[in-house]
Every structure is written in structure tokens, then in C-alpha cells.
Symmetry: C2
């Protein structure tokens, strides 16, 4: 049977009991690494005939897969998620169903999917995956939004939902507000009627960044310096924040904490400054500040099939289809030029930091 | 009416409508401060005739009241609890009911009581208080245990109950283990079948302290240096702690955190090193360490009449009457020598730090 897919076919003859069956398997192009190390060195492209699909398997053709900083760290062996080697890198992506196994009833050829499980290895042209590892998504969802659905928008969603009982008009303060996750926080907060105070590093074209974040729905955008001097809360222009989000650490996190309301949480999900979070004893005892962390990978592991996860995806996809929640600024890179995407992700520069997305169209 | 109490009587004549009534009121000896500052300077002794008791009032004769470090800080104006001035210092103590108002049905003369509310001002020979502010306690409860019931044993109890779901055999790690609260933690954990790893500063007679804490029920006692090198948890001699308690801060708190099990809380209730709690980003994100604080004063305020509070007192008093939970090492100081107690509390030295308790017997 020749499969109606773009991609190489791999022919052969198989002895099946007493009969000989002719088959053509898909030859997938994939990236692999057999040891942890510098992604530009250890990641290699190779080809592999895929197994025939059975039972609950689904044959997927990948459409797009982003290169996230966590993918880089995973390949470097610096991330707590350490897949068994050799491994196919890539944690996020969007694909199209090509063929389904005999037991699969909830997917049809042509369906769009994103991975439900962590570390499925999305940097490959095709894959045979178990249907239980996949989430069907509507075709009207943009390729960029779909391929970057499962990490940053979900992280923003969970941090806004799970660490404070926020009501319309409540304030969230975050640093690194221009990060991919920070942009999702701004947009989701805006959809839900929450106000955001967004802290960014000072930079030459700060006005541009301020405008960009305000267009996303930011209530206030302040530099670290401006935060130190602000009377936003003292003047009661805004109520004190009931939630702080931190992806920077160091003095910046301390400054965010200083403005929090009594009993609030500050949630750390990154550490861009490479400095720890320093918490004054008095903030813990007398202000009852709760210092927490959030890791999407761990949440996903514990909630693969949870109703909360289903509800989250439905809601996020709805916002994205309604154009209320936008994907990141991005650059598509042909799959064969994957090293360009790796290099650029390792040295992100500029105002927002483009998301490099591998494009499998020509595979 | 002459009251059957030790204490000065204050005589007078009161015009009550058309009749003249002879009365003798109690002249209370009390400490007062009219401004925040050095306790040895701003705290003065004075005498005050008490008002007649009405309705739900109770006349109390104080028996004993400890001088806690928080009392000192309150007088200094350095504590977040700032009573209206002039104020009577003292937050804890035990008294005896002398006379009850006409509406009081749950107290009788001779009953022993401790204050239910914060900052009632216990450093006085007598007081007229509302019966709703008092908790009746059994007479078999020792004076030392009773007078120090409402802060340290309660702090230890709540920290062990409210921040982790601890089961028999689970491990709690704490620094400053020889503090008054730390000793309560050891004893309560022991009663409940929990194991404790107790961190203390190295000192000349460390063996004595080790024995003292082990006699209280400590599973392990380690110096800070020993904790850094320990293989207690790696060797699986003990499971990793599910709760950390911190009254020191700085490097010591960091070392305690390092040994905690995934998803555990470290609860700060003091900051003896005057250094903040420094939390590595990775501990928050990848180990899901929860950094919290606890302040008994705030808990008491929110739970004055809660069933949890009633249950806690019943349980603690039961343990104390059964001699399973012991009061602190102490020294009784005659009320008139209160400056000695203040001075010594401000400069606590030695192995454990004696609790100085004001004794009102001769008042």
C-alpha cells in the first residue's frame, strides 16, 4: 500500500507465515542525539524506516515544531528531564494524522494533533505514536499557535489559575514580562479582566517594547528602576498585586515581592539572572508571602489525562481561534536548516526573542 | 466587700443613687510603657485601682508570666504588633479567677486561666478582663507549662500540622533545634511517631546539648558542619524530610532545604542569623520546594474561637498533664525584679536559653 503522504517510501518484502506481503514503509527524516552535549555537535540528522502501525498507533506527519530553550538544555544534559539516549529532541509541535491503526476511533487521516505527553521527540518528519499521546486540535488554529500550545500558554494559564484566587480587577505583577510566557500572561490576564504590572529590563528602544506589551493588554509596563520608585500601589492607583510571577530571580524578584499584598504567592518559573530568589524573613513571617515554583513538565506528567488539562486546552484553543491569544513572534526555518534554529535559540537577542520553528513542509 | 485575694485593697465611698456604698477595689501593680524604646528605660512599674467588674468581666490574679523575645521587640517598637500606647506589656501568662461578673457562667473563683487573645498585657498583678478572652485550664497543669502554653507549644503544633501531611515514620528537619519552639517540635514529633533531624550550632559542650535533645525525643542531632557532610538520607538510614522548620535563615536554611523531599515545605518562624532565606531557582521549579512563613500571632487572630484552636489546646494540655510535653528551662523572677528578667531575655546566652518568668506570688 502506498501511503498518500509527502515523504519517502521505503519498499521491501516481508515473510508473513507462508505468504509474502509487499509493503512500503515511511522513511522518516529525524534528528537524533546519542550523547548529551553541545546541540550543534551532538544533534545529527538521520533517516529511519517507520514500523507498520498497529492497534492504537497513529502515523503522524509533522507540520511544525519549535526550538525551545528547554529543548537546548535537555540536549545539553542540563535539564532535569533526561530522556534515555539515543533520543529524538523536541517537546512541542503540530502534526497531521496520515494513517490510523485498527483500534483507533477518535482520529482520522487529515486530523491535526499536538503531543499530549512530554518529550515525544517532535523534531522529525514523521512518527508512529500511540493515539493516547495525542490531542486533536481544530484546523482553524494557526500552525504557529498550535506548535507552541503545550508549554508557554499552558504555563501562563496554570500560574494564573493555581496560585491565587484572582477576581476581576485583581493585579498580577511579573518580571521578564516580554518573555514568551510573560506575553501569554498579559493576554490571558487581559481576557480574564485582571490587571498586569509588567517589569522589563531597561533597553535602548524601551518605548517600542512598552507599546508592544500594551497592545497585548498590559496595564502597566515598568523598568526595574521605575519599579523601585513607583507609587502605583502607595497612591492606590492600583490595588496591591495578589500574585507575583518571577522568571528572573535576584534583586528583581525581591523588588516584585516587596509590592505583593499580604498572603500572596510569588511563583518562580525561570531564573534568567542566574541568581537565587532571596526572601526576607519578615516577608515570610509577617507578610505570609508564599514562595513557590512551577514547572510545566511536572504538571503535565501528573495531569496527562486530568479534566483540568482538557478544560485548559479547550479554553486556550478557543481564545487562539478567536484571535484573543496570539502565538509568539517567530521565524520559520526549513527542517534541513535546523542548525540555524539551534544556534539562534542558544543566543537569543533583541527585544522579544524570536521563536525559531522548524518547518517540515519540504520533508 | 473585702476580696479574698492577695493584693492591696483600695478603699472608698461611692454614691449610688441615694445610698452610699462602701467599696474596696483592687489596687493592681502593673508594668507600663508610654513610648517604644529600650525596655529597661521605657518600662515602668505603677499602681492602678481596678474598675468594678460588670457583666461578663472576670477579675484575675496573675500567677506567672514569661518574658518572651517578642515582648522585648514589641516594647522596642520593632515588632509588627504595635499596641496602642500606653500599654501593659506581656502576651503570655497564667492567672487565677478571683471574682466573676453577673453574666459569667463558665468561670468560678479559683479557676486557672490563660489569655486567649494576643497582647492582653500579662505583666501585672491583677486585671479585669472579659471572660471571652480567657481559656480555663486544669489545675494539675504546671505553672511553667501554663504560663508558656500559648506561643511556643502552639507554634510547634501548628507548623507540624498545617504545612505537610505527616504520617508515622515521616521525618521533619529543623534548625535552631534547641530553641524553645524547637524543643516543643521535638517532643510533639516524638509523641506523634515522627522522626526529627535537629540542627544546632557547634559549641564547646555539644555532647550535653545532644543528650538533652535526645532525651526530649530527638532522632538525630547534627551540627551545621555535620549536616553538610551527612549521608543520613543518601544512605537511606532515614527517608528524606517532608517538612523543614527554619528559625535561623542564611546558609543554614539553604542546607536544610537541600535535604528536603520533592514537594516539601520549609517554614520560617524566626531569623536568628539576621540573614534572609536564599532559595535556588531550581529548588522552586524542579523540586517544587514551598517556602512559607508562620506567625503564631496572626494565626491566633484569625482563629480565636476556631474549633482547631480548641482541639489544639485540649491536646497540648493533655500531653503536658501526662508529662509527655515539658515546659522550657526557666528561672522564676519576683515581679518586682522585672528588670532582671528583661535584661536577661535581651542577652540570652548559654546552651538553651532560660525562659525568665515573672512570679506574682508576693504581689
Amino acid at each position: 500500500m502506498a501511503l498518500n503522504i509527502s515523504g519517502k517510501l521505503f519498499g521491501g518484502v516481508l515473510c508473513n507465515g507462508n505468504t509474502f506481503v509487499r509493503f512500503q514503509s515511511v522513511l522518516a527524516t529525524k534528528l537524533m542525539y546519542a550523547e548529551y552535549g553541545d546541540p550543534c555537535k551532538v544533534v545529527q540528522k538521520c533517516e529511519e524506516p517507520l514500523p507498520d502501525i498497529k492497534g492504537s498507533d497513529v502515523l503522524i506527519r509533522m507540520l511544525a515544531a519549535p526550538v525551545n530553550p528547554a529543548d537546548i538544555n535537555t540536549i545539553q544534559g542540563k535539564y532535569p528531564s533526561r530522556p534515555e539516549l539515543p533520543a529524538v529532541p523536541g517537546n512541542e509541535g503540530v502534526g497531521e494524522v496520515v494513517q490510523v491503526g485498527s483500534d483507533v476511533t477518535d482520529f482520522c487521516p487529515g486530523d491535526r494533533i499536538v503531543p499530549l505527553a512530554n518529550l515525544l521527540g517532535t523534531w522529525r518528519s514523521h512518527a508512529v505514536l500511540n493515539s493516547r499521546q495525542l490531542l486533536k486540535i481544530p484546523k482553524e488554529l494557526g500552525i504557529v499557535e498550535a506548535s507552541t500550545l503545550t508549554v508557554n500558554p499552558c504555563t501562563a494559564y496554570r500560574m494564573l489559575k493555581d496560585f491565587a484566587d484572582l477576581k476581576e480587577g485583581d493585579v498580577v505583577i511579573q518580571n521578564g514580562a516580554n518573555s514568551a510566557c510573560g506575553q501569554n500572561v498579559i493576554q490571558l490576564a487581559n481576557i480574564w479582566g485582571l490587571k498586569t504590572v509588567n517589569i522589563v529590563r531597561d533597553r535602548p528602544k524601551i518605548g517600542e517594547l512598552r507599546n508592544f506589551l500594551k497592545q497585548l493588554g498590559a496595564t502597566e509596563v515598568l523598568t526595574e528602576e521605575e519599579l523601585r520608585k513607583t507609587d502605583l500601589f502607595k497612591s492606590k492607583k492600583l490595588p496591591k498585586p495578589k500574585l507575583g510571577l518571577n522568571c528572573v530571580g535576584g534583586k528583581n524578584a525581591l523588588e516584585v515581592m516587596r509590592h505583593l499584598n499580604h498572603g500572596s504567592s510569588i511563583v518562580t518559573y525561570g531564573g534568567m539572572s542566574r541568581e537565587p530568589v532571596t526572601v526576607p524573613t519578615s516577608a515570610l513571617i509577617f507578610k505570609d508571602i508564599k514562595v513557590r515554583g512551577f514547572w510545566m513538565t511536572e504538571w503535565t506528567k501528573r495531569n496527562v489525562d486530568s479534566p483540568q488539562r482538557k478544560e485548559m486546552f479547550e479554553e486556550l484553543i478557543k481564545y487562539m481561534c478567536e484571535k484573543k491569544l496570539h502565538g509568539p513572534a517567530y521565524k520559520m526555518v526549513e527542517f534541513q536548516n535546523f542548525r540555524e534554529a539551534l544556534m539562534n535559540t542558544m543566543t537569543i537577542k533583541g527585544m522579544i526573542g524570536l521563536k525559531y520553528i522548524l518547518d517540515f513542509e519540504k520533508c
